[in-house]
Amino acid sequence: MADVTLMKTPAETALAQAFESAKTLLPGNVESRAQAFEKFTARGLPHRRVEEFKYTDLRAAFREVAPFAGVPTAEEAKAALAGAKTLAGIEALQVPFVNGHFMREAVDFRALPENLEIVPLREALANDHEWLAHLSPVPWAAENPVYQLNTSFMADGVMIRVAGPVEVPVHLRFVTAAETAVATATRVLVVVEEGASVTLLETHESTDGAGHQPNDVVELIAGDRTNVQHVRVNAEGGKTLALSTLAARIGAEAVFNSINVVAGAATSRHQVFALLNGENTNLRVNGVTMLKGLQHADSTLVVEHNALHCESRELFKTVIDDEATGVFQGKIIVPHHAQKTDGRMMSAAILLGEGGTMNNKPELEIFADDVQCAHGATCGQLDDDLLFYLMARGLPRKEAESLLIQAFLGEALEFVENETAREALIGTVEGWLRARS
């Protein structure tokens, strides 16, 4: 084979060494980890010649590999969580992770809301828990190198079972608080059983001064007639290299609504892999990305319509200031049997600074003839006429810009059902705008 990478980069070598020394210490079956790592090693860190990573070169991004984080002391954890503010105003069941480790002390297992069960992943892996069979709900995600790395190194996480309606949102709070750069790999599995519903909040924060390397995977199996609302915020520190994956398999007549708001990290890539596996299901995936300085953020999305009559809507909004780079890659796949699919994907970007870059790659892959699919992509500046109009009414330029940007991004936030969460996200946007003026 010609494309086997013979020369390893220092980062690849470091990863191989890290895996060798960690694999027997990590909980659970070594075999499945080794398989995933072998798959990863066969191709190495993806670079710009690998189509799916054309715009986010991980070989270049990983100059060195940070050591995997150990378990924090109780004090460290307490301090870290006290400082975590993202979506703090929402009443929710807190499921916190510090430095990639689940803080089980913070959860009162005896007083969980009705219809909710939580199993720590570390224990589950060690005891070969029966729910482990539900991991990897989207089979083709296993071909993805970021996912492979997570499977190889995943040290902790939780498995959540939702058996009926859960009224209180579940907040997965990820905080990396180490002084020096650490790597983490967490895995969360959420199984929402037939007819059940839940709101998931997911926030990621880290200390500003260190180049942390989190790689988090959230997996969702949503049964028939379920309703899952998912709000994710990337508020990582300014030097963090954040990789994340949401892999969701959704049954019939279900509703899944996911939004990812990106304001943090030096480099980030959020991958959404959605498999619509039952008829008449409704998927919405939105993204709001705000970038400045030299930030780089990649939103990658693959939606496979695997059943009749499903509807998917994707709306991604990106604002790029200074010399930042935004990436959107979206692909809608409709195989032969997914007739009556209705898929619409839109990516819109605004470049504010002189040196910004936006790369859009919206794809359609259609094999069924009775479908309606469309995608659109735009890229440009704020509307000059509107700016002028607002300024003529007395608004200073920055304020006028802020107003227009808020309206632009707001369109993608409208679909957040939880009102408090939506307000908080609008607050995040406002905060970002204030910081730039």
Binding site: H336, N359, K361, I366, V371, Q372, T378
Partner: protein, 490 residues
């Protein structure tokens, strides 16, 4: 529009054998030894009587090509090509460089007659409005067999001749521009072409001249196991205008044949080039046997200010199409346009689109692509629009629509949109749809047969692009589209 009716007639009159250009011409050919080597390249160069620099250029390309690997990123699949199992040069034995039509082998003249390509100027003049005259360069396998209206064009200062002739007669012009748009090292197939190209057209329009007639090249692959590697170079000097048409056919054969062409366009200040293609190479049979591999590099360089390059293509033929006619928008205020209809049926595979590279200020581009997939074919639009740092005020509008007929084909859209300039405005939209049963019933209720109804609706779907073609070509293209979709319903 009478063309619709003609389309319908055409569809009616066709029997199962849809490809009507599949006949073969019996002429004695002289060929280079099979396979590719320095010797074969020297053979070709010697046959063409080329100067030393040209031979060296070819040999350099060949050396480079030996180090390259075939690209695999396109959404097409085919058995490995054995590059040593191809003839790289085939020319009619009898007088390969005829001075006039009287010297051309009558069998070849008959071929073009059958294909409906007029090679005798007096025939073209008879009964046709002078404005719509078309000058033709007819390329038969590896050589140009006739070029019409050369004299008249010469009076206007226009050079229109086989490129092999131009290498001898205008070596400075050729040397100045050849390989400046598609460098020798550009890609696997372009590099191969640089090493072995045999013939093609050369056009030069002097400053301020509006070419007095449409220019066209008609490519015919006839010989078995022969690749066609034509090279076309068109230069529109300052303030000039030219419209150029290209047509292609080949006999039906069970094995695949390679066609790896390179087309370079150069538009200087205020110049405009319109390049239209109706590509109807043999597509293979319904089981996917045979057909042309059409691996083509076409690129235009809007080198001057206010220059314009328009690509219009109707792609109905070939087993595999791999083709991305592109524009480099270098000159300030320059404009690039790409209009495409790609029809695939049977087992055809199309991976085609364009690149619009915005380098200069206030450059604009427009992409309209209509893909129609039927049978068990795969039809991919792949396109790149990019604005570089200095491309202030760049504008692009892209619309790519796909239509699927039947449930065994695939239609894919893979656009890359890259902006590095805040003032660049890019808009892209794409849709995929089908012909609705209700539309079909409505047409049938009015008396149209199923096939007529499909032809009508498809013609409506592709209308925006057809309008870009010169009239004669539009009618032919419309027919071709219907023929290509023959048997796709019911």
């Amino acid at each position: 529009m009478p063309a619709v009716q003609e389309t319908i007639d055409q569809v009616r009159s066709i029997d199962v054998d849809q490809y009507k250009y599949g006949f073969e011409t019996e002429v004695e050919m002289e060929k280079a030894p099979k396979g590719l080597s320095e010797d074969v390249i020297r053979f070709i160069s010697a046959k063409k009587g080329e100067p030393e620099w040209m031979l060296q250029w070819r040999l350099d390309a060949y050396k480079r090509w030996l180090t390259m690997t075939e690209p695999a990123w396109a959404r097409v699949s085919y058995d490995k090509i054995d590059y040593n199992d191809i003839y790289y040069y085939a020319a009619p034995k009898k007088n390969p460089a005829p001075k006039s039509l009287d010297e051309v082998d009558p069998e070849i003249l008959k071929t073009y007659e059958k294909l409906g390509i007029p090679l005798r100027e007096q025939e073209i003049l008879a009964g046709v409005e002078p404005q719509s005259r078309v000058a033709v360069d007819a390329v038969f396998d590896s050589v140009s067999v006739a070029t019409t209206f050369k004299e008249e064009l010469k009076k206007a200062g226009v050079i229109f001749m086989p490129i092999s002739e131009a290498v001898r007669e205008y070596p400075d012009l050729v040397r100045q521009y050849l390989g400046t748009v598609v460098p020798v090292t550009d890609n696997f197939f372009a590099t191969l072409n640089s090493a072995v190209f045999t013939d093609g057209s050369f056009v030069y329009i002097p400053p301020g001249v509006r070419c007095p007639m449409e220019l066209s090249t008609y490519f015919r692959i006839n010989e078995k196991n022969t690749g066609q590697f034509e090279r076309t170079l068109i230069i529109a000097d300052k303030g000039s205008y030219v419209s150029y048409l290209e047509g292609c056919t080949a006999p039906r054969r069970d094995e695949n044949q390679l066609h790896a062409a390179v087309v370079e366009l150069i538009a200087l200040d205020d110049a405009e080039i319109k390049y239209s293609t109706v590509q109807n190479w043999y597509p293979g049979d319904s089981q996917g046997r045979g057909g042309i591999y059409n691996f083509v590099t076409k690129r235009g360089d809007c080198r001057g200010r206010n220059s314009v390059i328009t690509w219009t293509q109707v792609e109905t033929g070939s087993a595999i199409t791999w083709k991305y006619p592109s524009c480099i928008l270098r000159g300030d205020n320059s404009r690039g346009e790409f209009y495409s209809i790609a029809v695939s049926n049977g087992m055809q595979q199309v991976d085609s689109g364009t690149k619009m590279i915005h380098l200069g200020k206030n450059t604009t581009s427009r992409i309209i692509s209509k893909g129609i997939a039927a049978g068990r074919s795969e039809n991919t639009y792949r396109g790149l629009v990019s604005a570089h740092r200095k491309a202030t005020g760049a504008r692009n509008f892209t619309n790519c629509d796909s239509l699927l007929i039947g449930n065994e084909c695939g239609a894919h859209t893979v656009p890359y949109i890259e902006s590095k300039n805040a003032s660049a405005v890019f808009e892209h939209e794409a849709t995929t749809s089908k012909i609705s049963e209700d539309q079909m019933f409505y047409c049938q209720q009015r008396g149209l047969s199923e096939e007529e109804a499909v032809a009508l609706i498809v013609n409506g779907f592709v209308k925006d692009v057809l309008q870009q073609l010169p009239m004669e070509f539009a009618v032919e293209a419309q027919k071709l589209i219907s023929i290509s979709l023959e048997g796709s319903v019911g």
